[in-house]
């Protein structure tokens, strides 16, 4: 279901937000990116697993999720202990692409229990310059759209190290809407992702953040 009407209820900041990218200073950032991709190959085990789509699960083990001060460069991001979902998504996208897999930026609107959101508001309150990703009971979250077939996609969430279930739409950690940068339409389960368009999942979300 397209969200032509509902999309207008999205927070203006969420509507306007583009997929995150990292700044490059030059040689130091080239070296940082090279380090990331070499690390990714070490943890990949694609040859022994004979699996193409193994995702960079190691990112979740290496980095702690938390606020990032934007803009951030490659050389700063790889050395950071804590990164937000935008940096996780940039890293994963680059790693998939280095493996020859088409990967695009994307975002989901995710619902959360209010008890969790209260803590994240507190955590981000110390970073007033950070992107306003937390709504009333939903959040804006960056993910990666991975092209898995001619016209199919899978959605990887590098922050949590999971492939999203295209059938979980409600409740804590439910996904109520999605948007991807994929240049051609791709199907994720029963959902068709069109470039730049928010699409509701399962039921119309409360897009009142």
């Amino acid at each position: 279901m397209d969200l032509d009407a509902a999309a207008t209820e999205l927070s203006p900041a969420w509507q306007a937000a583009a997929t995150s990218t990292l700044v490059s200073h030059g040689a130091c950032c080239v070296q940082a990116r090279a380090w990331l991709l070499a690390s990714a190959r070490s943890f990949d085990f694609a040859r022994s697993d004979r699996a193409t789509f193994s995702a960079p699960r190691w990112l979740t083990r290496r980095y702690v999720w938390g606020p990032t001060r934007w803009p951030i460069s490659w050389c700063e991001a790889v050395k950071a202990k804590t990164i937000d979902c935008g940096v996780f998504a940039v890293f994963a996208r680059e790693i998939f692409r280095a493996k020859g897999i088409e990967a695009y930026g994307g975002q989901v609107i995710r619902s959360y229990d209010a008890a969790s959101l209260a803590h994240w508001r507190a955590k981000w309150a110390r970073h007033p310059e950070a992107f306003p990703w937390i709504g009333e009971d939903q959040v804006f979250h960056e993910i990666v759209v991975v092209r898995s077939g001619r016209d199919t996609a899978r959605i990887y969430d590098p922050t949590d190290g999971i492939w999203l279930d295209s059938g979980t739409f409600s409740g804590h950690y439910g996904h109520v809407a999605i948007r991807g940068d994929n240049p051609i339409p791709l199907d994720w389960g029963a959902t068709r992702l069109r470039r730049g368009q928010w699409t509701a999942l399962g039921r119309a979300p409360r897009l009142d953040a």
Binding site: W35, A38, S42, R47, S48, A51, F53
Partner: protein, 748 residues
Amino acid sequence: MIYVTGLYSGPSPSAGLGVARCLREGLAKVELVGVDFWSGSSGLHDPIFDRVLLKPSWDLIEVDLHAEELSQALAQGGAWLSTLDVEIAWLSRTFESAPGMLTPGSRALAQTVKPHASIGSVLPLREAKVMLLSDELADADVHEFCRRHSWRVWLKGPYHEALYIRSWRDLENARRFLALRWKTEELFLQAHVRGLEESVAFCAVNGKLVDAVAMHKRVTTPDGKTWAGRISDVAPAMLAAVETAVAKMNWTGGAEIEILRDADETAWLLEINPRFPAWIYGAAIAGRNLPAKLASAALGIPLAPLRRLQAQEFTRVVSEIPVTPAYPLPVPAQPDYATIGAVGKYGAALSSIVELLGAADAAAAKTTDTPKKAAPVRPLAPELARELDALGIMVGATPQRMNLEDVSTRLFDAALTRVVGESEGVERRVALSIKTAPDLALLRQARVRGFFAEAISALEVRRAVEAGFPPGEIVLNGPGKWWPQTEVVPDGLRAVFCDSVPELERLIASGRRDLAWGVRLRLPAFDSRFGIPVEEPEAFAALAGVLSRIPKGIELGVHFHMASSGIGVGVWLDAIESALAWAAALEAATGRAISIVDMGGGYHPDDLGRLPWPELSARCRERLPKVTTVIVEPGKALSQTAMALATRVLDVRRRDGEVEEIVVDASIAELPVASLHPHRLVRRSANGIPEAIGRGRGRVLGRICMEDDILAANVNLPPELEVGDLLWILDAGAYDWSMSYGFGRGGY
């Protein structure tokens, strides 16, 4: 009345309680009798049952009486629904498809038996590679299977239990443990598949599918058992296949197909269990009550009004319930220091049914006059037998290690033809690892074939020079390569690979001149004490900074070493890809080209010639456009099988007429890596011909007073063995030689 067996309800529960809940909720009216064989099974105390039967454990049960009681229950209109794999196997043989028996018959069951469930061929699932273990199978083949699957394999028992195997020593220990626990040698290896677990549960009556559901595990116990899951419809293709399979097998009862889904979403068949899974009540919560539907379809019991769907997902909770006074809890046995193999689910009792089934098989074999065959032993290669035969007359005081010169020549020639070469403008050179065989004769074999020598100390460099290697054909590696400092290492070595950044800095400052300098990399995700770690961006940057300072006239190289025999061939190929990725990253970070890649050693003799060397050279060129040389450092691949240890029998210990153990005059002092890889055992037969000894239950004990001086624990010792007999232990070169020591020789 429905009898439900399997009431254990611990962290790895049987399905009986879940099945009973389904029946109680889904059938209009039913009397439920819970049956178990251990008073510690907590399901005995659940009020869901109208009554319970506590039978003796399977090692104490009177099987004929049990069968008679069961027959009477069926004759009185009762139904029997077992949730225990091993009991189902016994039921299928004892009752076949009696009315009221809600389990599959023996022909149906035979098509689901591990490891090769024949019915799996109709399912849209790939099957993980398996190897059925037996005494007939050569240890070398088992070792090869494990290497091929990168030592990520499971050793599985006939019905339950799986142990993850990472090494030969693991496997030998696990094999003994499971054989003892399950009282059978019918074990098998299954290659590990990395993936997420899901299941399809179904039920059928006389080959007609009644219902099926899919379950994706969401939370698991530390043992990987389901704790919470999501229920959904079975995908249409899978459902159609299950329908076909059920019809083909004429299945009656419940079942579970265990599946792994890998990163590419390929579904792999793990196994088919001939009973409902323990999570089956979770499906009823989702509105799919399979046990009730089975009972209704098979017995004609009306279904209760359908309970509406409560949730697609279910989870378990831990809860205390009162113990029924009639079945007080078992008092724990006094703690014991002995090795306890089985604690928990049924203890060792279920293995008694396996023994019972084995006895039935043996009886069946006897009635059909099948002669018991001795396990065939793979014969020695004729050329090896000839060489041993010729050496036999030269054996003096034992233990005596002897070179198998023909074998050695063949190994060196094979390395020359299969490894050395040039492709894509990259030359591949072999460097003999001196530490594995510091023998001048072997070094000369290497020299005449144009191999390099690989040293890990200044003394080994001296040895290489003595063998005629010019410095430009010597590679120097290792964390202590300049030891002893009294030795002068000549300039002009082909390559020196540093093990730390400070060492590289000292090398740059030393004023030495060699043809190439480089670093050994410690790759992330690979556990090693060697090499320079690059896991932190700061460490990587520091390494790149020092590498940039290497004088321009000296070539740059990277070295990676992780024994493929230890990590397996697939993971080793991953490691090479990883090393090349880091080398490319270093090129990007330093602006310097890397011209030498050293792939290290640690190859199994059988793998060295099989690895795709031309492809690997091409891959090096692809990732590192200026690379000119790939160095491969086999050591044990060229010498492990080229030596045999002659030993004589010192003592023969018999039991029931069979040789149970022998003591020989060799020991782990002469065979220090006896437990790390298989060693073939050869004896001189009655007609004087060397003859391989196969696998069995006998043990070969070493001469020294060390508990772990066990040279072989699973061999079929010939009954005619006598004190003084000569044996050969093969595969005794390489580290068995270079690391041997003089323990127990009184200093002589």
